[in-house]
Subunit: 248 residues, 2 copies
């Protein structure tokens, strides 16, 4: 699409948003996926400035905020009913200063926006990415090789990652991020990737088993040079019980 057409679309969208959406308020989502032993996050690139941002959007006047976050994510990924958790509010003055400066002052997007942060853990393979009016790219980026993010989106991302890391201590993480069956060392690799450090194998095994949420399968991972490791999957009932918090 030509830049000129994009501009016309942005101005048309601005007009619609002033009619239909709650002013001054947006939602932004930090969407994590796990692929080839790498934790990835979903980013969109603004066509005009080539700035990378978290996927975000606005809330319609007749729409619940959590429904809006789901809708925006569905527009970007095609995925429905994913695990989406609000985790904080980002409302500093001038957090988006300088963005959209080429447009008139009555452009919707030039308001001061207060943004609610959501995070999601999604099945990397179940996602079909799509761009929106502003963006020319929507991609998974490895968290070890993130581009610079615009506005305050680095701060929103950092906060989500901190919360995800803290939650590893008392909530199980993995369903949605791993295939249905996995080995303990694949699960440990996921934890090490999120925490960004090596874990002791024995300690990890004992702590994971304390959550009491894994089902051991008869079949084993084949093809390696070593003894075939056991395959596990999450017990959905116990997994969701564990989400309520670790016992003292």
């Amino acid at each position: 699409m030509l830049i000129m057409e994009k501009d016309e679309k942005i101005i048309e969208m601005s007009r619609l948003m002033w009619e239909q959406a709650i002013p001054h308020f947006s939602v932004d989502s930090v969407v994590f996926g796990f692929h080839e032993n790498q934790l990835k996050v979903l980013l969109v690139r603004m066509a005009k400035t080539q700035t990378w941002l978290l996927p975000g959007g606005y809330v319609f006047k007749n729409e619940n905020v959590h429904d809006a976050a789901q809708r925006v994510l569905k527009e970007r990924t095609g995925a429905e009913k994913i695990y989406l958790q609000d985790f904080g509010i980002f409302g500093n003055l001038n957090r988006s200063e300088g963005f959209f400066e080429q447009y008139d002052d009555d452009l919707w997007h030039k308001q001061r926006f207060i943004s609610a942060g959501f995070y999601a853990l999604v099945d990397y393979t179940a996602v079909n990415l799509a761009t929106d009016t502003f963006s020319d790219s929507c991609e998974w980026k490895s968290i070890t090789d993130l581009p610079d993010l615009g506005m305050d989106h680095q701060h929103i991302y950092d906060t989500a990652l901190t919360i995800l890391r803290q939650q590893l201590s008392y909530k199980p993480i993995g369903m949605n991020l791993l295939p249905e069956k996995f080995t303990i060392s694949e699960l440990q690799k996921l934890y090490e990737t999120i925490l960004d450090r090596q874990l002791n194998r024995g300690n990890f095994y004992r702590r994971i088993m304390r959550f009491d949420m894994l089902i051991k399968h008869e079949d084993q991972r084949k093809g390696g040079a070593h003894k075939a490791p056991n395959l596990y999957s999450f017990d959905p009932v116990k997994y969701h019980e564990s989400l309520q918090g670790m016992d003292w």
Copy 2:
């Protein structure tokens, strides 16, 4: 103050808010304090309807959202720079339906509001409570004997308590809620009150010691019939390190 004067003040406040505040957006805080072995929460009572609510307020156009939450809490409690943490967004349609129905439709307070939830842990003894334009009472209420809350404030409160309970698993809680020096059983009592169940004394001792954040004092608690228990206080540096999350 007479009801009539309160009404005039509400209409005057409405006029000012339309000029000075971000529309459609509010902050509400769940403020916990600990006193006489009870966990308490700060509530305000609306003068006209006698409905209890969490203390909340609005964000000025030239104000950061977190600064607004601090300001609102200072207005209610006199306390400054307290530990205040955003934890979620409450934005369902009609969450405040029926409130302020006796006023004209252009009253500021009749808008749809999306509210950011904050929680605070404060020193019960350091707080001086004050009412605002709408309220005729501002009180600590024990969490075991809460009155019905208006709007969706029961849901906001429940969410804050759930998060506080989860955080006990990986963050130290107690600074601000306990006196400077305390016994291990006083700390255990605080945890039991928040979790609303008995904890095994030996397990509690071992887990608390794993946080490695307590300083043991030479002096002991006097006056009891039994052997005087040791007094402890939090090591501020290690306490704040532990806030970053438990080690795997």
